[in-house]
Subunit: 343 residues, 2 copies
Amino acid sequence: MMERTEINELGEFGLIDRLTKNIEIKNASTVLGVGDDAAVIDPLGKQIVITTDLLLEGVHFDLTYTPLKHLGYKSIIVNLSDVYAMGATPTQVTVSIGISNRFGVEAIEEFYEGVYAACEKYDVDLVGGDTSSSQKGFVISVTAIGEVLADKFIQRNGANKSDLLCVSGDLGAAYLGLLFLEREKKIFMEAPKVQPNLEGEAYVVGRLLKPEARKDIISFFEKQTLVPTSMIDISDGLSSEILHLCKQSNLGCVLYEEKIPIKEEAKNAAFKFEIDPTACALSGGEDYELLFTIAQSDYEKLDSSIPITVIGYMTEPELGTHLITKGGSKHPLIAQGWNAMNK
Amino acid sequence: MMERTEINELGEFGLIDRLTKNIEIKNASTVLGVGDDAAVIDPLGKQIVITTDLLLEGVHFDLTYTPLKHLGYKSIIVNLSDVYAMGATPTQVTVSIGISNRFGVEAIEEFYEGVYAACEKYDVDLVGGDTSSSQKGFVISVTAIGEVLADKFIQRNGANKSDLLCVSGDLGAAYLGLLFLEREKKIFMEAPKVQPNLEGEAYVVGRLLKPEARKDIISFFEKQTLVPTSMIDISDGLSSEILHLCKQSNLGCVLYEEKIPIKEEAKNAAFKFEIDPTACALSGGEDYELLFTIAQSDYEKLDSSIPITVIGYMTEPELGTHLITKGGSKHPLIAQGWNAMNK
């Protein structure tokens, strides 16, 4: 059986000491990390970007099927994804948690193992946070900081008419992973002795539980001196994010269903659930891919070394926002994405 | 009756638009505020400090007696206090909230009125955040950013032997305010028709519900070119914070009970509860005053224009950390402060 140390035995400061004792600072810009009233960062002439996300048990994650280590990892990734979506490089994070007494110290350490694994992989320093009890449910708040050369950040509002609409990686899989896990949870609730059956679903389940942020895409842009005109990360589903780019850039767009990158594994999973894989890509969310626009003249800078797909193009705003289906019919694009407020 | 608009009517993005539509950026360092994947800040050659606090309903606040506007105000203040405790000037904040469906849009607007009132008063820009539903309870996570001249930030570990131990303002009142509000809540629960009796307790209740951060002290330091050798803000009670300074500076200290600044209002309140006002100052917490050390040679820079009290001095670590009571006896200083983990 797993060892269990009560958090009260350590106290708040003891717990923080235990969770942060192995930190090694990796970024020159991190002047002062954990342990004072605030962290100190020296941007060394660059501008900084800052983004924050709140993750609440029962709303954003379900501990029935989310290992704590994966949860720690993902909490960091979803924030780094926002930093990359600005065309910036993440450098520091702060992590605050609210924990009820159903968690022992070892469980919290497992969560932090995931946090540190993500920090390690993305060369980010954990520089602060807050640790508190919560009456009910696990509460996570992460803030990520990144750096970017002066005025080289990429906003949502810079797309131009005729720009190509591009997306990294593949879409829809995370949502299908969620459907599988929810199905297995339901079966487990009704018949606890039945072993979960996730055979063949490692890809879609992995996309939900252990997403990555597209550091490689930002590096590729640098290597190719390719500057997207606008960019956003896909957390709420492709439709919703495209509509953000269109609205903020005051443009319309045409999106081709046949171009939307969907992996075979996701198509198979969608088939099992008898749902349309395109709908999963459009409205599923949690893909943490980058959606961006580039000038047509930059098309030649794309190459096969990197998973970037052109899925459509931007138009005059009067032409609206449309999806051209595989059958050739035209539908207005609607944001039906995951909406935290409707849960 | 107060109007009530359901949050679902607006959706997440509609709510964010409504809450952020009147923002006017005040700081030159704020390059890009709310509305993209991340905010962008240009520190203009300065270093930045970053701090974050998680506030959870039922742990850090009780909505039975905490007006939402005050809560919004206080959420900002507790973070600004940490920025000032670094000797830095706060410039930006992000505010994330998790809200259950028991709140309508108007209630959230009330909370943000408090947030904006604090931002206005302290010249801080709200540049981002996250809005989510919560299954239960109101969740608040604030991150504050400040700026400081290169390497001029003040840590907890810089105190020297013989330095004077100083504190701003007065202590213990917020805890007494809490005791009053908890008492009235209990009476209300047992007999809802009884009107709350907080007569004469405006000061202590105000200290709990609407604290301020000590911007004036930081301005005073600048004016006097007075550089504290170490500094921390008082959120957990004087004892706990003194022990932090001693531990991190590797020193001992002597604290004089008779020097601890306690207001008449707090003494009266303590008398009513038959508790020792000194205990309230030592262990109460939530005062958001600054505790700092200065070289003896800087003593003459203090003046009567600013509420700073010398309460003791730092010693060799071997001498330990002691309180000299009004009666002249000597007690080891123990951290019995409010501890979020034991609640």
